[in-house]
Symmetry: C2
Subunit: 243 residues, 2 copies
């Protein structure tokens, strides 16, 4: 059995919004960086997988933040994998400030794809080959929820530009989250309440595509659906504030 | 006379584009962070100025990059002020990799504003009060060029959203640069050539405004003008690739 790994971060000026607190995408970015660094350190990073024409793809993510840390706050991200299924592996995170208080947590689920077909491959072998990397500790939050349907009442269009894309020329994860947050009333971010984000990736969106971001306000959450140019649901998400 | 100050940075995964090299906004971000940290350390940071109801505002910036560093590259930013005028102070930067090779440089010009009127105030007193912070070393590149007029042949519209704004609820500097870069053909970034960016800030753009980003292609450069909802030129910029 493995141990949790920890990484140190600091909330930099480019990480904060108008409240001078870290944005959800900034915290999400450090979470994904930690995932990449830890997989690399344990021998199953994207670099090692690419040699076999495979790669990791983020399928679902849930982030819960009790209180967004202010600019220049130092924090620690702990990460561990506790489950390998045939299709998804589960990687967990807790974010802790320098006094040891946990202020956020995340659960991510990853598929492995064949880079030629971009189809999911069976990843049970990773669990067997790297069983020492599995940590016997429960996920710190409910797993990412599957969002089955969204009936948007409002839309904005978004053309995928250079600044949106990653090394695959697909929209990067944090930009999808920004597209959702940007549909909310800006004063949602002035209240300092806990928030839970669930996001579910169904199709990759490419440079140049015209996306349609829809949003539906429910009593207890706001749902989002980003459709690609072909009209398919590419991303679904839910944001719920918690007093 | 003062000494140059140095700060350490690393190209993180969120800093790179599809070429896996640091973007201009990411390098620009570390440059502005260094400006803030150095001014703070020397006693004339935004925090100290706010006590007198003043603040620094970036008026013009020029960045020259010979080669954009790849992901995980460590680099050092050196900064120094070499001039205080009545209206503008000049802060300089060089960016150096771990082998000591300078791969980028920048010259920025800052005004001091009164936070109530948002008008520029005479800042010669800062030069007198903090003369020990002035470094007798020339700027590492030509000062930011004034871009007097742009005759755009193409436009895109951009509504200012939550993710675009800083603590003043104005569009943050790096988002303006992204708006310009996003008008260029994406393959401009695949060629690895030197680039020089000049950017000139005329009016602050606010949350919710509908901006119009125009671009004009010249033989040796691309010019940009971002107009605010009132139709005023808010930002002008020029990007020139250098073989």
């Amino acid at each position: 059995m493995g141990q949790k790994s920890t990484y140190s971060y600091r909330v930099e000026p480019q990480d904060v919004d108008f409240t001078l607190r870290a944005t959800l995408p900034a915290l999400g970015s450090s979470i994904l960086n930690v995932a990449g660094a830890d997989a690399h350190g344990k021998g199953f990073g994207v670099d090692a997988l690419n040699a076999d024409n495979h790669s990791w793809v983020l399928s679902r993510m849930a982030i819960e933040v009790d209180e967004r840390p202010t600019q220049y706050t130092d924090y620690t991200v702990a990460t561990w994998i506790n489950e390998y299924g045939r299709v998804l592996s589960t990687r967990n995170f807790t974010l802790t400030d320098s006094s040891g208080r946990e202020f956020a947590r995340a659960v991510t689920q990853w598929a492995m794809i064949d880079l030629t077909t971009r189809a999911a491959v069976d990843l049970s072998w990773v669990g067997r080959a790297h069983s020492e990397a599995i940590v016997d500790a429960p996920s710190p939050a409910e797993k990412p929820r599957k969002i089955r349907s969204v009936e948007p009442e409002r839309f904005v269009e978004h053309r995928v530009v250079y600044s949106d894309i990653d090394f695959n020329r697909h929209v990067n994860t944090m930009r999808y989250i920004e597209m959702c947050l940007d549909m909310l009333p800006v004063d949602s971010f002035a209240r300092e309440e806990g928030v839970r984000l669930d996001i579910h990736f169904l199709h990759e969106c490419r440079y140049g595509e015209l996306l349609r971001v829809g949003c539906q306000t429910l009593d207890d959450a706001t749902l989002f659906e980003i459709r690609n140019e072909a009209g398919e649901a590419a991303v679904r998400a839910s944001i719920a504030w918690r007093a």
